[in-house]
């Protein structure tokens, strides 16, 4: 993990992989809960965790170096700093014991781009659906729109490109794939991800706490509706 300064009030933790990101995220959230970290925002992403709203980034950077053993170090993790085996896609590996919990999303696998995904994966459509149902996903991070979760868990070899031309309107609840990720559109928006299905589960509601159903670290299964 490498720390990069970002402006006057932020630090970017450059991680080696998504598992290290998740380990640092969980650890930093825990440290903040305990009052040892003053970050206003802790924002995990694909390979980084951004700490924003720091009073003294240099002090925080020094502090990060003393939080030893660094989370993500294999075999030495204690308590909630799990280094779950996401990426394997093996059913039943529920090792993620972070506070984020698990969510089953009921999905109707009727997406318009299922044949395209089947083509990229060089399998039949039912096999695509079976693989998606059988994958334990985890929310790597949120972005693009409030409550839009980037789900990791598919093997790297199954990454798919986006549509060359994005659709002007993707309906809310659309379950879709792009790159190494699965995602669900919380609200209707333009989008270039490949549509594999849809869900009626509300994913973002400002009147619930937290407003997003899928928060970073949450384990997710896309079960048949």
């Amino acid at each position: 993990m490498r720390i990069r300064p970002v402006g006057a009030h932020a630090l970017l933790l450059d991680c080696s992989d998504a598992d290290q990101v998740e380990a640092w995220r969980a650890e930093l959230w825990r440290r903040r809960e305990e009052g040892h970290l003053d970050a206003v925002e802790i924002i995990p992403a694909a390979r980084t965790v951004l700490l924003d709203g720091l009073a003294d980034p240099a002090h925080t950077a020094a502090l990060l170096g003393t939080w030893n053993p660094p989370p993500g170090t294999a075999g030495t993790g204690t308590a909630a700093t799990s280094t779950s085996t996401v990426g394997a896609g093996t059913a039943g590996t529920s090792t993620g014991r972070g506070s984020a919990g698990a969510v089953e999303v009921p999905v109707r696998y009727d997406g318009a781009d299922l044949p395209m995904v089947a083509g990229y994966w060089e399998v039949a459509v039912p096999t695509v659906v079976r693989r998606l149902i059988g994958t334990e996903f985890r929310v790597a991070f949120c972005g693009f729109a409030p409550g839009f979760a980037y789900l990791t868990g598919l093997p790297a070899g199954l990454a798919v490109p986006r549509l060359p031309t994005p659709r002007p309107r993707v309906p809310a609840g659309s379950v879709a794939l792009a790159g190494p990720y699965a995602g669900i559109y919380p609200t209707a928006s333009p989008g270039g991800w490949l549509l594999v299905g849809h869900t009626d589960l509300p994913l973002f509601d400002v009147h619930t706490d937290p407003p997003a159903r899928l928060t970073p670290g949450t384990r997710v299964r896309l079960v048949p509706a």
């Binding site: 970017l12 694909a46 729109a145 409030p146 809310a172 209707a188 997003a212």
Partner: protein, 304 residues
């Protein structure tokens, strides 16, 4: 990218007992703004809030409000409002003609508004945006702790339309005893301090020289999300895609065309183009009209 369905209340509730402001003319873009909704970025919720928080804070102090109270952010063409009860307003930011009823008023002073009088903010003479505070504040329903309109995600109340009626809260205290405040001039050229990083190493050394030596021009597609600049494109040292990473206010992102974009209050929470540096204070951009020259300077060349 913009949500088509605002999650916030579409037509803000007007409490029966409360005061009301009526929008006679909304102008090209008038939004409700406070100090935004920090703390939700990990869920993809932008910070939003007034583009010049200092100007909104000042307007609030002038009318006796807590500094974080919601007011209106008014863009270029001004707006016209009718207050149903006698109240106090203050307008800060751009140099714009102000009228209360038939009487001319001033920017940067508390203005007494008689019941039923119209407050008119005219087109700004210099600068781009004004902030209007009213005693008691704009009392639309907060969304995730803020009443701010987020033009990117659609959270918060929609931008004002002609004929809207917005609730006004109960005054918190007396207006400030003040004669005048200094208005900030809107220069033809904006100079912005820039700290390199986190991805300055994605650019060639000549690109960083260009960044600090080019007179960029603010383009008309700039908005509350970001100030888009045109000028010398910045060549990359690293090709390929950057995995999405978190963004801060003032981040200078460089998309594939090499033209920098400075992120403002409604910026997305993550982005997939490298951020070459971060502008220390973006508030001068709140008043910069399209065509304004933008230059970057930085004391810490070479360090990262």
């Amino acid at each position: 990218m913009t949500g088509t369905q605002p999650v916030g209340p579409k037509s803000p509730n007007v409490p029966g007992s409360g005061d009301v402001v009526e929008v006679l003319r909304a102008g090209i873009l008038t939004t409700v703004q406070d100090l935004g909704r920090p703390g939700w970025a990990h869920l993809g919720v932008p910070r939003s809030g007034a583009l010049d928080p200092g100007a909104l804070r000042l307007a609030n102090r002038l009318v006796g409000n807590p500094e974080s109270t919601a007011g209106l952010e008014i863009t270029l063409t001004g707006c016209e409002l009718r207050f149903h009860r006698a109240t106090t307003v203050a307008i800060t930011g751009a140099d714009a003609p102000v009228q209360v009823g038939a009487r001319p008023g001033d920017v940067g002073r508390p203005l007494a508004v008689p019941a039923g009088a119209a407050v008119r903010v005219g087109p700004s003479r210099t600068g781009l945006r004004s902030w209007l505070a009213v005693a008691g504040g704009i009392a639309v329903e907060p969304v995730l702790g803020s009443r701010a309109t987020d033009t990117l995600s659609g959270l918060g109340p929609p931008p004002l339309h002609d004929g809207d009626r917005l609730p006004v809260g109960a005054p918190a205290g007396p207006p400030a005893p003040v004669d005048a405040t200094a208005t900030v001039p809107a220069p033809d050229e904006v100079r912005l301090a820039l700290r390199l990083g986190p991805r300055a190493d994605w650019f060639t050394p000549p690109a960083l020289d260009l960044l600090f030596s080019t007179a960029y021009t603010l383009t008309p597609v700039s908005n509350r999300v970001g100030a888009r600049l045109s000028g010398a494109p910045l060549p990359r040292a690293v090709s390929g895609e950057l995995p999405s990473e978190g963004l801060v206010l003032g981040a200078v992102q460089v998309p594939a065309d090499g033209q920098p974009l400075v992120f403002l209050a409604d910026h997305p929470t993550t982005g997939g183009y490298p951020v070459v540096g971060v502008v220390v204070d973006v508030t001068p951009l709140a008043q910069a009209r399209p065509g304004t020259t933008v230059r970057f300077y930085g004391p810490q060349r070479g360090s990262r």
